[in-house]
């Protein structure tokens, strides 16, 4: 460990991100961003930007958003299940 590292659990100078209110703002911003990028699909009829997106089934409304969300939730739930089977103590391999 670096000799200059002095762990301090309480830092007097609180940062912007230390306030839960600001974290909530970021999360709300993310929700709005999600709504915006999903809403862009509504403009496809006008802009026709998905004509070059293949395979064709990916041109369904909201496909990428739903796919990304479902995959990530499924990934985490599967990984949590794997943990029950695979997780061991940190010194498991210590000879």
């Amino acid at each position: 460990m670096d000799e200059n590292n002095v762990p301090q659990s309480s830092d007097s100078s609180r940062r912007w991100l230390d306030q839960p209110r600001n974290v909530n703002r970021i999360v709300r911003g993310l929700y709005v961003l999600c709504a915006l990028v999903l809403g862009l699909d509504l403009l496809d009829g006008w802009l026709n930007f998905k004509h070059d997106v293949h395979p064709e089934f990916t041109q369904w409304f909201g496909f990428y958003g739903v796919f990304g969300f479902v995959c990530c939730v499924g990934l985490v739930l599967c990984a949590k299940g794997m943990r029950k089977l695979l997780m061991r103590q940190e010194d498991y391999y210590d000879e």
Partner: protein, 577 residues
Amino acid sequence: MSSCPPGMLLILGGLLLPCLSRNFRRAGLVLLPLASGLHLYWLVADGLPDPVAMRCFDLELTLVRIDRLSLVWGTIFHIAALISAIYSWHVTDRLQQAAAPAYAGAAIAAAFAGDLLTLFVFWELTAVTSVFLVWASRTSSAFRAGLRYLIIQVGSGVLLLAGIAMLAGDQGASALVFDNLWDRFEQGTIGAWPVTLILVAFGIKAAFPFLHNWLQDSYPEATVTGTVWLSSFTTKLAIYALARGFAGADCLIWIGTVMAAFPIFFAVIENDLRRVLAYSLNNQLGFMVVGIGIGSELAINGTAAHAFAHILYKGLLFMSVGAVLFRTGTAKGSDLGALYKSMPWTCAFCIVGAASISAFPLFSGFVTKSLIVEAAADNHYDVVFLVLLFASAGVFHHSGIKIPYFAFFGHDSGHRVPEAPWNMLVAMGLTAVLCVGIGIFPGPLYRLLPYDIGLDPWHTYSLGHVITQLQLLIFSALAFTVLMRTGIYPPELRSVNLDTDWFYRRPLPAVVGLCRRGGAGLRDSVGGFAKNLLEKIGKSTHHVLGPSGLISKTWSTAEMVFWVSVLLGSSLVLYYL
């Protein structure tokens, strides 16, 4: 100089560096990649040179073959060596300062090898030199991990040599030219055995599924700087070898698909952030292997471009986590958090690396990974396409969000440390500029690629692609946020997760121990019986033949005369009768 393989300067320089004083060693480490890069530039300045051949034991070896495919790897290997050298400026350990450039030089020379035997020599040299970067940690766990790494890497070389020997045995030395082996196999000019052996050899180094765990086992055990060097060369050399020898091999599409998907599950639950990065490295290699399996010009260009970009952004992520490890003494997610307060520059560079690996528009991964995914869609591999999409969302989840979140944000771990050293910041800054530069101006990279297929620099920036990619990534971020805020996301715990290395770290030693104990028991029982038997024979023999035995004891002259008289008398009586 024109017949000297590119990379040789690094190998020889690496051997020389330990003899120099500290400051010369530092300067030499940075100057060597520059000198080697200038050597390569000089070789190709007037167009691609003719191959350099050499006769050795009746074998015609092609020491140097510079073409557009090898040039992509040669170029990025030099850039990676230079950046890693700057990152390692503070290191004074002679072992690392010798091993690192020699390792980089071996990888570069291997990429320019024109025949399989030359490839084998440098292939093994990468293994032998790189293990010192693991051992340089000088801990017992690093020593053991290094031994495992060395055995597996050398094993890969042995398989390669066996394949080469079979090829040469079947068809003579002319069959050793390193071109598309898969095409030759499909045309029936070479047999299945040598091709399989060589494919497995390449597959071990490329970390194919079930052959992969040396990567996650050894890289996190290496030194802070050693991991940065390691992340750039070994696996990408294997990707080059596959692109050269197995482009269009259908089996690679499915191997790559599995490879892109499975490591992300492990990455989600892994606590050691360097090991998380090793899993995501494995996942990114999967994309490249799929591209090689598809084998079209677009797919091979995509693979080469992705390898180029990947070396940079993966190096950047390893550098940022390495800087955290250097300052705090740990890379475990459970012990880190809120380091953005202490290490803001490192945090910013990590986010650039995370955005690049996640393929955010304007970052390097977006303009390279998309070529491979597009090639899969164009060739109607819909299942492969969906798995790659899943892997793209997953890599954003565990590398794009998890690494920055648990190291630099999340709960405050209380670490108050100085920012990373200046040399680390310079190396990370340069890499970050390249990651963004490639993302915004992909033209120069596209022009470097092996095939001229008229790739427009803005090829991947169609409105549809940008919007759909943003949808995929932002909703993946939403999933992470929802799971974190609902407490469903698995917390970072001090633990290890079993992977395929479990087989050779637990059951195999147990079986060997059992055999050893069984063998020892057998030896003891059989040996004991034989020993007893021999002792009995010895005693009886001794009784008869020993110094005081019946046969050999000394008799007095009177006794002898008596017995001779008895003998003569008896024979006289017998004769008379």
